[in-house]
Amino acid sequence: MNDNRNRPVITGMGAVTPVGLTVSETWESLCSGTSGIRKITLFDTSGLRNSRGGEIRGFTEDAERPRSLQFLEKATGEALSNGNILENSEILEETGFALGTNFGCAESFSRYYTHRDKNPSVSTDALHQYPFGYYADTMRDEFGIKGECVAVSTACASGLAAVEAALQILKYTDAESVICAATDELTLYSYAGLCALHAVTKETIRPFAESRAGTQFSEGAAVVLIEYEDHARSRGISPLARIEGIFLNNDAFHTTAPDTEAAGITNCMEQVFKRSNVPKENVTYVNSHGTGTKYNDVIETRALKNVFGPHAHNLYIDSIKSMTGHEMGAAGLIELISTVMTLQTGTIPPTVNCSDPDPECDLNYCTDGSITADIECALTNSYGIGGANGSVLLSAFRE
């Protein structure tokens, strides 16, 4: 363990999302306001609240293996490649793995349980794909990772919880870098449940619009390579962004409903600033959770005002879920990657489908197309069922 190895930075990124099978494809779609919401073909949606979602298409897959694992493998390959450590066995042997997922290979669980219901002596092969450790084992085998591997699951905040877990691996083990990942797949199991909770709109996701009536769920994976700045420099890599602060907490309010006073998410952001050296005024962009549910968007607006005061009105805020849908446990890390891209390029993707802004959501939600601005520091937030909250503060890496 060495606590003085400089600050953590992001040096590689990979993504598989409903709007693109790489980071650059995804980014291009986001900036042009392209939606990835389409008819769900993976399972029968008859009778459910919505037949559309962010199903990933154009992906060559192996039907015998969980989709979420295949998304993860592809995104990892991309992140390791642009982080310049793919097939570098020396570095990968000192690399850890932190995964965030909400449902993991729930399809494998469902498949096993359904077959077992008919035949109690059915093979347990599918069951062995369910525990999240299966991802870690596969990543070890496939990429030659030898560092500590962990999985975290804080519902839809899982992607940001994975960042915290990755930082702990960097701090407490000999790992020189950590693959921080998040993945989730659309399945009947999760979709039927989320519809039953009435989290799903019957029409289209419209974050921050007065007519919003719920979210639309989707699938995907994101991977970022995290290491300390001096380590990145020692191998000649220029970091993509710095991680300035992170905090995770819980509303302790209700199993399925958010705290209407926004106390939990307000405190989560406040704790990030308390532990970083970044003044709040330096933050000019927030990648919001922005699910398009009646509760979330107004509560999130309230929390931003609580934290930033009058400066909240100076913030650029967007919801890329308006285009990607809600990728559940992967959403937080996909949105973190989008935030890094904004820091790098100065482009803020739009919030689409918000033609009737909610008067209660009276901040700048970038609803008129993508915006160009010089962003030094940015915040990305994720919230999950059960009151799980996560906030990560990032800054642009400038030599």
């Binding site: 077992r116 525990p131 500590e148 877990a165 083990t173 995770l248 405190n267 009151g387």
Partner: protein, 301 residues
């Protein structure tokens, strides 16, 4: 870095409810594995031995057993330390939870409903209770724990990593006090998965703090080894957790089954208890599961 003390412990397993029962069972080398009426096989299910109303006044219309065990062991740790959560400290009181299977039992029930009836009639309360973070969320609501919160789930090192994350949160002042919990419960899926090793219901909670109290046990060291050998310079007592089976005496074959995500915390609770009882001054709790490995050293404060 702040010192970290264990100020409260709570434990439930098929060996007993509470540290006194567990201690007695261990002393008498009891098994904790018996024929379960529910599952028709040998395992360590405590569903007939455990009444949640002993630990909470809240009436739950439905609660997953892992969540119930989580609430019970947190209550025990609170009572053990006389720690009270109030408006002043609830945002600085944290909870880190580790579990391999978490709410698999409720997942089974939800999946069964999907099989038996149309998905449009899916049961929302079963679904919301089936999330891996559901036990920690339910406990957070039950006790009003609003501070640092994360959940390690699904890997064989989940319990150990939850303990490590809790320790890190204390050392870096992310919390003033924190409950770190490892828990898992037997279900049909779990029985099918382990096949030859009987699984146990197992939940243990350790309340850690930077504040030293009379009964404190200090966590003097914690290392994550990632498959590397343990240093052999430690001369005190050791408890080993190998593949989530607890070896209270490394020289004897003592495993009774797998305690799954509750194993590391259960072992650490037993170690803290032995130090508090004056049986030993220090104990190293060692964890190994596949390529994952690590340990913590507990000492008399």
């Amino acid at each position: 870095m702040e010192p970290v003390y264990i100020n409260g412990i709570g434990i439930l397993s098929s060996l007993g409810i509470g540290i006194e029962q567990v201690r007695t069972a261990v002393l008498h080398n009891e098994s904790g594995i018996f024929k379960s009426e529910t599952y028709g096989t040998e395992c360590g299910s405590i569903e007939d031995l455990f009444d949640l109303s002993d630990f909470t006044e809240t009436t739950y219309h439905y609660l997953d057993r892992t969540a119930a065990c989580t609430i019970a062991c947190i209550r025990m740790a609170m009572d053990d330390s006389s720690y009270i959560i109030n408006e002043t400290n609830r945002c600085s009181t944290g909870l880190v939870f580790g579990s391999i299977w978490s709410c698999a039992g409720t997942m089974e029930k939800f999946q069964q409903k999907l099989i038996d009836s149309d998905p449009k009639y899916a049961t929302p309360f079963l679904f919301s209770n089936s999330f891996p973070n559901s036990p920690a969320s339910t406990a957070s609501i039950e006790f009003g724990i609003k501070g640092y919160n994360t959940i390690f789930s699904g890997c064989s090192n989940s319990g150990f990593m939850a303990f490590s994350a809790g320790y890190d949160a204390m050392r870096t002042s992310k919390s003033d006090a924190l409950f770190t919990v490892g828990a898992d419960a037997v279900s049909q899926t779990v029985l099918d998965y382990y096949a030859d090793i009987p699984p146990n219901d197992s939940a243990a909670c350790i309340l850690i703090s930077n504040q030293k109290i009379e009964s404190s046990v200090e966590i003097s060291n914690l290392r994550i080894r990632s498959g590397k050998p343990f240093p052999d310079d430690f001369t005190g007592e050791r408890i080993q957790v190998i593949d989530n089976r607890i070896y209270l005496d490394p020289d004897k074959e003592t495993p009774r089954g797998t305690c799954m995500g509750g194993a590391f915390h259960s072992a650490a609770v037993c170690a803290a208890d032995r130090i508090r009882e004056g049986i030993t001054d220090s104990c190293r709790v060692e964890f190994t599961a596949g390529d994952s490995a690590g340990y913590c050293v507990l000492r008399k404060a």
